[in-house]
């Protein structure tokens, strides 16, 4: 596969910016997405055409995101406490109206905040960026087996937290283990 920067930008800018938006809000997302593609542009020579471009691109973005992990956790905790999601409220003056009546979202925010940063990254790359385990492994420079085990752990923590809030049933661990094999 021969990638052209323009085509990759056209195909991937919006999804990547969307991913970053969901992590940190529009302001940071605009900056980080632009910086991600700036780095990609400079390092274009390093892109292996035999591989998918997305892990490479998200790997760059994640390296930038690392500097914001603590801020993200603060934002998630604030959301969990207040029900006001600063990520979404940036574009909505009527932010109070966004105060989420759905308790599970606050629980989910709390659960995400409690995850280790790398686990959160793995989980969200899977859920929000639709990367496969192998792609996440490449993006994060982790062995695939590590990604799988951490994904398993993160999902279990989220599930248990939600279950504690009565939002979802807890799957039998044996079923989960089977799923992870």
């Amino acid at each position: 596969v021969e990638y052209s920067f323009d085509r990759v930008f056209e195909a991937e800018y919006r999804p990547l910016r969307g991913y970053l938006y969901r992590r940190l809000g529009s302001g940071e997302a605009d900056d980080l997405a632009a910086e991600t593609f700036a780095i990609a542009y400079r390092r274009w020579s390093e892109l292996d055409p035999s591989r998918s471009v997305r892990p490479w691109l998200y790997g760059i973005a994640v390296n930038l995101l690392r500097h914001h992990w603590r801020k993200e956790r603060r934002m998630l905790r604030a959301y969990a406490r207040s029900g006001l999601d600063s990520v979404l409220s940036e574009d909505n003056d009527a932010s109070v109206e966004r105060a989420d009546a759905q308790a599970y979202r606050r629980t989910l925010a709390a659960a995400l905040a409690e995850l280790r940063p790398v686990e959160r990254e793995i989980l969200l790359l899977h859920a929000w960026a639709d990367l496969t385990d192998a792609e996440i492994a490449e993006a994060l420079s982790l062995p695939p087996g590590t990604v799988k085990s951490r994904m398993h752990r993160a999902r279990e923590r989220i599930r248990n937290r939600l279950a504690a809030g009565g939002q979802v049933e807890v799957k039998a661990l044996t079923a989960t283990a089977e799923e992870q094999r």
Binding site: S45, E46, E138, R159
Partner: protein, 257 residues
Amino acid sequence: MTDEIQLLRDFRSDIPAPDEETVRRAYRYATRQPRAARRLRLHAPRSNQGRILAVAAATAAVALVGFLATPGRTRNPISSTGVAGGAVGSAGVALANPFALNDAPSALGAPLFLPYTPLLKPADAASTAYEQWCASASPGAPAQVCQVTVNFPAQSVQIVYSVAAKQWPPQYQNYVTDPLAFYQSEMQTSTNPDKQIVYLNGIPAFLARTKDPNSAGSFIQFRLAEYAVIVFAQNYDPTQTQELAQSMVDQASSASP
């Protein structure tokens, strides 16, 4: 039953798309600097110091699936021993657990040659750090390429062996069938300032320093028997890394009838 992943997917899913001016601004920002020349690379060492080995493990795995667009699941059809359970990822890649190095030849169908030099010996390989996985082109399809990664943590060396199940998929053809031409192309297009083609008992190999300014490392790639091999050495200069590869080739030569 509500799936937590689905809940996550719904979480903050209603974000607005960027306006066109934001997109244009990002593009202008990204392309404001000169770009390095396009370069074809088999494996791209990353710039994160101290992580080259982990990166190599991950990239080695994903290098196999770069051409695999369709998600799927498969068991390793190459292994007659059911190596390490063959857990399978969603991209048609069997993600196996670590397995014993002694199992590698039977699993992959070809002997594995390790370096034996003053710098590094087979006994230095970490017994818990072998990883093996296989890639197929589509769900349920037979694996096309399998790979073993052997780590030497004390020396910060990692060797990745790739082998075709039956025949190399087209994406590998360019450097498998005519590696010298591939390396010559690398020499012309690579922006890496420290690269060369060397010969290991007549076998062409591409040898280069990593581009990571924080690492003194180098890597070498070559064909060896049934394998496409890449040696990543985080702390070795190209001469030392070539020495490792030469040792592997010497052993292969002496083992052949």
